[in-house]
Structure formats: C-alpha cells, structure tokens
C-alpha cells in the first residue's frame, strides 16, 4: 500500500528526516545559534511575499522559511512527508482523504492552527478573479473549480470534521502529498491576511518569523520559539541576500560574504577545479527536463521520423559535457532520473548524422528543411545551446533561423502555440503521472501539452496508470509510457538539470532537494562555530 509512507506519524517523519539529513551534517552535534546567509539567485527582488500568489522559485525560498504546508518534501526519501497533517487516510479508492492536523502548530501571532485555517486557505486559493498560482493544486478537489468560476462560495469537497481534522474529496484518484507539499498551498492565518500589512509583513506557521525586508537587497527572518518540531530550528536568524548577477555572486562567495551560492555551468567547473571550493558543493539531479519543444501542428514536425532525425543529428553528449559542463545529466526520455518510471537502462538517441539524413530522406526531405527556433538567453537552456546545435543540424541539411526573446515572451509564445520550435526547461516531477500527462491528448496546450502530441496508445497507458491500485503495474505502465515518448520523440531530449549549490564549510544540514535545490527547509540547517557571520 502506498499510503504506508504517508501514514507515518509526525514523530517518525521528523526522526526520519533528521536521520536522513545526518550525512550532510557529518558526525557533529548541531550547534544552536548563528546565522546563515543563503543567496536568492534568480531575480533582483522578491516578487511577492504571499505564498499563494507566487510560484517563483526565488519567492519559494522565503515562503518555506516563514510558512508551512500539509506536507513537506522529504529529500532523503524522495517523497512527500506529512508536516502540518499528522495522518492522512484514504477511502473510496483514493478519492477521499481524511487529514488529522497538528494540534501544536502556532502562527507567529500566537494563535493555534486549526481545521478552519485549512478550509479558509484552500478556499482563498480558488477565489475567482485573483488568479492565485497555488490554485492549480486545489483544482482537483471536488467543487473547487465552481468556486474559481464564481459559481459557488464554498468548496463542496472540503469538510471540517473536527477542530483538527478535515476531509477532502477529489474528482479523481490522487496522492495528496504531491499536491500539498507545494509552498503555494501554505496554510495562512486569515486575520493576518486581511490586514493591510500582509503584503509587507507575512505571518505564518514556519520555523522562522519575518523580521526585515529591504526590497531589492535582502530579507531577514528570526527564530520562532514556538515552532512545533522540538529542538528546531537551530539558527537564530536566516538571511536572504538577493544576488541575481552570477559574476557578482561568485566574488561575494569567494570573499565569504555569503554562505550559499547556486552555480551555473561555468562556475561549476571553476569551483570543481579549486581544491578548497570543490569540497563543499551539493549536487542533485533536479526534476527539470531541458528540451527543444517542437510544434507538431507545424510541418514537418508532425512526422516522427523528422523528430527522430533531429535527435540523431545532434551530438547531445558533447553539449552536455562541454557546454553544460556536466552540470546536467544527458536526457534519455521525458522522465528525469529521480522520478519513478525513469529507466536507467534506456540508451539515449545515438549521435548518427548518417541515420538522421536517412530518416529525413525517408520523410521526403533529402535536402533537409529550414525552421525557426525560438529561444531565450538562458545559459543552460537557451541561446548558447542553440548556437552549438546550429552547426550540427547544418551537417544534415537542417537550417535554423534563431529568434531570441525574453523568458516572459517565451512562455506566452509557448502557451499560445505561436512557435515552430523552442528550447526550454520543464518541471518533470516529482509526480511521474502528472509529468507524463503532459503528452496526453486530452491535456490542453496551456496546461503542458505544448507540442500537441496525440496518440491513443499512449493515452490508454496513462489512463490505466492513473486508476490501477497495483503499484507494480503502475510503475510498469509509467516505464512503458516513458519508453513510448522516447520513440515518438515529441521533443529533442537534451538534459536533466544537475543543480549545484556551493556552500561554506561551516554550513551543515543542507538538503539535496531535487524539486529545486535552493528550496531548503531552514529548520534543519545549522552553522558551526567557524561561521564569521554574526
């Protein structure tokens, strides 16, 4: 039964987590006190301190410090773990779940959390017209969409059973951990959200309470003494210096002005070449797949042979080695390494220009063709990659016109289908079923199926995987679906991101979170006495 993992009590979950985190913390006893300075690397400001409003990774760093959700992501186990909920019991074939809630969780304003907070928070997420990004995780709850459309005031599928117990009915069989570990589903205190200060001074259930925010410069949070996990957090203070510029971040890290720094491919190599810096790099296979997405409504991308030819024509291995500098794992198909269904024995497309040419000829394009390739300037999944691929495709007669756009425009173009091909990064986990649904023919372009790939056999496999009660059968189906995608090659499979975080030697307890490495549950982090930060 897969609910076993989820049923474990909070004490076990906490103990398990701590034990799992121990390797990173070596054999020392965690020290209480001190400060950690974790850089916010993705933008030059925090966009929104309301966790329901922002799904941006950078804002998530702060949200998981100040707020909490029903589940958290257990990086050691690679699965969601109970957090605000102490037990989750399914019934009716996995469509109805009963959650027991903590009775020892306090908001930073001193009030105890209860079932009403869960009901209110989830209802808020579905407020019509607000467009809360967290709404996507609640939409599977029965009656949620009606609230979102303004047809109802209350979500019919959420019922308060007691002071610390709620029952949630879903429209289909789900594993709620995959939905409710997302920080955008944080449980918030209504009385604080309704205050005018909410946008600037958040109040939550997390291990640290908000202290100071200098927009564009840093955010500081300090220890919350009534946090529900005994003995945690260790640190007195967490600071998030905002540093979007990688070259500046590099200098600041080397100068020991910050404690963590996410590394790009260039710096990954440089740090690995440095005898001291090399020792403190946390690596994780993230659940992001980078690919060139082809629009199957545009000729000749509707032809499988053409798409396969592209996969054969590109020397993906050398790009991963030399340009991504091994700060990535070569992709075989759509599912990344840490996600169930990934097949480690699968061989990627072989680099074989002759075969590519043959496939093109078979598809009636012996002289190749020309297409427009839209790209952003991202160093890992943007222009530099396109630049390296252009000469390779030219070898088999495929001519590329590049169109460079900003990331904000790229998303727009993808959602509207106004592209021939574009290169991008897609989140491909942690839930394999949801990830593979991306190519289900019922999935609209706007909720992932940007290629508009449609195949009845594939649909059947996924539908069965979604309803079966047999975990082995499900895994088998996921594997087959993933293998199907390999052959259909809806995209050029490029790589799965390897996220790398450099940290100072005095930092301990960092978690190798594959969903996003900068997302650290800060209560587990501690610093030893050699930390220079006061």
């Amino acid at each position: 039964m897969k609910r076993l993992a989820l049923l474990s009590g909070i004490a076990i979950a906490t103990a398990g987590l701590l034990a799992a985190l121990a390797p990173a913390a070596e054999a020392q006893t965690p020290r209480r006190g001190g400060v950690v300075r974790m850089t916010a690397p993705y933008a030059s400001s925090f966009g929104n301190l309301d966790p329901h409003r922002s799904g941006r990774s950078q804002d998530g760093q702060v949200h998981m410090t100040i707020h909490r959700t029903l589940y958290i992501w257990d990086s050691a186990k690679g699965a969601p773990a109970l957090e605000l909920a102490t037990a989750a019991t399914p019934s009716a074939g996995g469509t109805v779940w009963t959650f027991k809630l903590r009775d020892d969780a306090f908001f930073h304003n001193g009030r105890k959390m209860n079932a009403d907070d869960v009901v209110w928070s989830f209802t808020r997420l579905m407020s019509p017209g607000e467009g809360f990004v967290g709404a996507r995780w609640i939409r599977l709850v029965q009656g949620a969409v009606a609230v979102e459309r303004g047809e109802a005031k209350e979500i019919s599928g959420i019922k308060k059973l007691g002071e610390h117990e709620v029952e949630i009915t879903f429209t289909q069989k789900v594993e709620p951990g995959f939905l409710f570990y997302n920080m955008t589903t944080s449980i918030l205190p209504r009385e604080e959200v309704e205050k005018p200060t909410w946008a600037t001074a958040p109040v939550g259930l997390g291990p640290f309470k908000f202290k100071e925010h200098i927009p564009g410069s840093r955010l500081v949070a300090e220890r919350f003494d009534r946090f529900y996990k005994p003995g945690l957090p260790y640190l007195d203070r967490v600071e998030f210096p905002i540093m979007a510029e990688a070259s500046a971040r590099d200098i600041a890290f080397r100068n020991r002005e910050v404690d963590t720094s996410i590394l790009g491919p260039v710096q990954y190599v440089a740090y690995n070449n440095d005898a001291n810096l090399r020792k403190n790099i946390l690596e994780v296979a993230e659940v992001f797949t980078r690919s060139m997405v082809m629009n199957h409504e545009v000729k000749p991308f509707d032809d499988k042979r053409v798409r396969q030819a592209i996969n054969h024509a590109i020397n993906t291995q050398i790009i991963v080695e030399r340009l991504a500098r091994n700060k990535a794992y070569r992709a075989t198909s759509w599912l990344p390494i840490t996600v169930p269904g990934y097949d480690k024995d699968m061989k990627p497309y072989e680099f074989n220009p002759a075969k590519a040419r043959a496939l093109l000829a078979e598809a009636g394009l012996p002289n190749g063709f020309e297409f427009e390739w839209t790209t952003s300037q991202n160093e890992s999944w943007g222009l530099p990659i396109v630049e390296a691929v252009i000469p390779m495709l030219a070898q088999v007669g495929i001519r590329v016109k590049t169109k460079v756009v900003e990331v904000a425009v790229l998303t727009d173009i993808a959602l509207k289908g106004e592209f021939q091909a574009y290169i991008g990064s897609s989140q491909t986990g942690p839930d394999p079923l949801q990830t593979l649904r991306c190519y289900h023919s019922s999935t609209p372009r706007t909720s992932c199926n940007v290629t508009q790939y449609k195949n009845a056999d594939y649909d059947k496999m996924l539908d069965e995987a979604g309803t079966t009660d047999d975990p082995a059968r499900k895994l088998e189906l996921l594997k087959r679906a993933n293998a199907h995608l390999f052959d259909a090659a809806p995209v050029w499979f490029f790589n799965y991101n390897k996220a790398t975080l450099a940290f100072q030697p005095w930092v301990h307890g960092l978690q190798a979170n594959p969903t996003e490495l900068v997302h650290q549950y800060p209560e587990f982090i501690w610093v030893d006495a050699s930390s220079p930060a006061k």
């Binding site: 590099d250 200098i251 030399r322 630049e387």
Partner: protein, 272 residues
C-alpha cells in the same frame, strides 16, 4: 601651435577599428558561428588561437574581428538615425519657428528628460533583441543635442544677409535649408555624432548585460563581454579582448570627437 595629440591618437584608433570593421571577415581565421568546436573550449591564448577560445570553443580573435562589424554598425547606424532626426527637426524648427518650433522644443526636452538607456531598454523590450531593434532603439533616443544645436545654428543663420538674399531670389525653403543652413551646422554635428558613436557602443554593451542586446548568430563586442563576465576569475581572456576592443574603440572615438571639436567648433568648447 597646440599639440593635436588627441586628434592623432583618436583618429588612429578609430581608423584601426574601422579597418577591422570593414576587413574583419578577411582577418578572421575561422567562421565565428559555425566553427564552434566544443573540444577546444576555453583555451588560453596561444599561437593557434591568438586571443584564446571561448566557452563554445570558438576562436576569440575571429569573433573580435567579426564583432567589430556588428559593434560599428550599431554605432554608425544609430548615429545616422540620430543625426537625421536631430538635424531635420532642429533645422526646420529654427527656420520656420512658430508652433512647430515650440513642438520640437518640447519634444527635445522630453527626450532629454528620459534617460536614454531606459528609453532604449523599453524599446528593446518591445521590439525584441536584435541588431535592427538595437539601431532603432539607440537611434531614437539620442538626438536631442543634435536637434538643439542645429536649431540654434538655423536661428543664427536665417537672419543673415545671404539667406535673406536667397529668399529674395525665390529659393524655396527646402533649398535654403539644405544649401545654406545645413552645411553650417555640420561641424558641431559631426562632433556630436562621433562622441555619440562611442556612447552607442557602450549602450549596446549595457543592454547586453541587462539581457537585451544584439544577439547572435552575430557576435557583438558587448554581448561577448557580457557572456564572458562569469569567467573573469577563471578565464579572464574571454572578457579581456572584447573589453579591450570596446575600450580602445570608444576611447578613440572620444579623443577624436574632442580633437574635432577643437578644429571644427572652436567657439563652443564648453557647450556641453
């Protein structure tokens, strides 16, 4: 007699960049785009790769040679647009006066008030990154000085005897503006355009840094420098050579502009 060293040095450097800009493709050993060889990534300068190679294994020397073309095109193109807009508005405003003059004056003040980098950033965000957008963005945002000066010249000249005489002789407005007024404004305008070219090349680099510059396949110095900024501690040659190319070219243009001002526009040294 004053030492015209700035003119000599500036002129020399500018000629050198122009030479590279025109003959860059012949000076380069390799194709700057198609000759990516990832096996040669980030090699330091050597006999084979004079300036080393970049992250993609491309010869930096060749790219700097090709880049001259792009950077100078941006500089010259944007200044041509600026000069065309500035002189047209300025001369007609000064010559015709009236509501048109008021309008042009207002517009000039408006352009002066919005920092040109920010205006260019907005235009680049609308048009999307690229060479043409860049020339347009930088060409639309820097014409106010040209406009002011040509207007002042037009005002000063239009009341002079020979212009009056031309009018009496029945010369049309256009002819008077083109044959009598425009030539007289040329000196200061050349100076502004020369200095402005340097400004455009730097603005291109700044926009590249902000993520909105000229974008390959054409390598521009600004985008090369911007791309190389992360390797400044580990592979400094990646940024050194495009950086030096920008520095020397802009330095040359600035010195040349100063020198030209002394020669062409001696009475107005302190105008700016």
């Amino acid at each position: 007699m004053k030492l015209r060293a700035n003119l000599a040095i500036g002129g020399g450097l500018t000629l050198l960049s122009l030479f590279v800009g025109v003959f860059g493709p012949w000076l380069a050993h390799t194709d700057p785009i198609m000759d990516a060889n990832l096996m040669n990534a980030e090699l330091p300068p050597s006999g084979e790769f004079w300036f080393g190679t970049d992250q993609q294994g491309r010869d930096i020397f060749s790219r700097v040679m090709y880049g001259a073309q792009i950077s100078l095109t941006v500089g010259i193109g944007s200044q041509l647009i600026n000069t065309a807009i500035g002189t047209t508005l300025g001369v007609t405003a000064g010559y015709w006066g009236g509501w048109w003059d008021d309008f042009v004056n207002g517009l000039t003040n408006l352009m002066l008030a919005i920092p040109s980098l920010i205006f260019a950033l907005a235009i680049m965000a609308i048009l999307g990154p690229g060479l043409t957008s860049l020339m347009i963005a930088l060409g639309l945002t820097n014409w106010s000085y040209t406009c002011r000066i040509s207007r002042a010249q037009a005002l000063a000249i239009k009341s002079q005897g020979y212009v009056q005489a031309a009018r009496v002789l029945g010369y049309g407005d256009m002819r008077i503006m083109f044959t009598q007024i425009l030539p007289n404004t040329l000196g200061p305008i050349i100076v502004i355009a020369t200095l402005g070219m340097g400004g455009s090349i730097l603005a291109e680099a700044a926009l590249s840094f902000l993520g909105l510059g000229v974008r390959p396949p054409s390598p521009s110095w600004g985008s090369m420098l911007s791309d190389a900024r992360e390797t400044i501690t580990t592979a400094p040659w990646l940024s050194l050579f495009p950086g030096l190319a920008i520095f020397l070219t802009v330095l040359g243009l600035n010195l040349l502009g100063d020198g030209l001002r002394d020669v062409l526009d001696p009475q107005s040294r302190s105008r700016r």
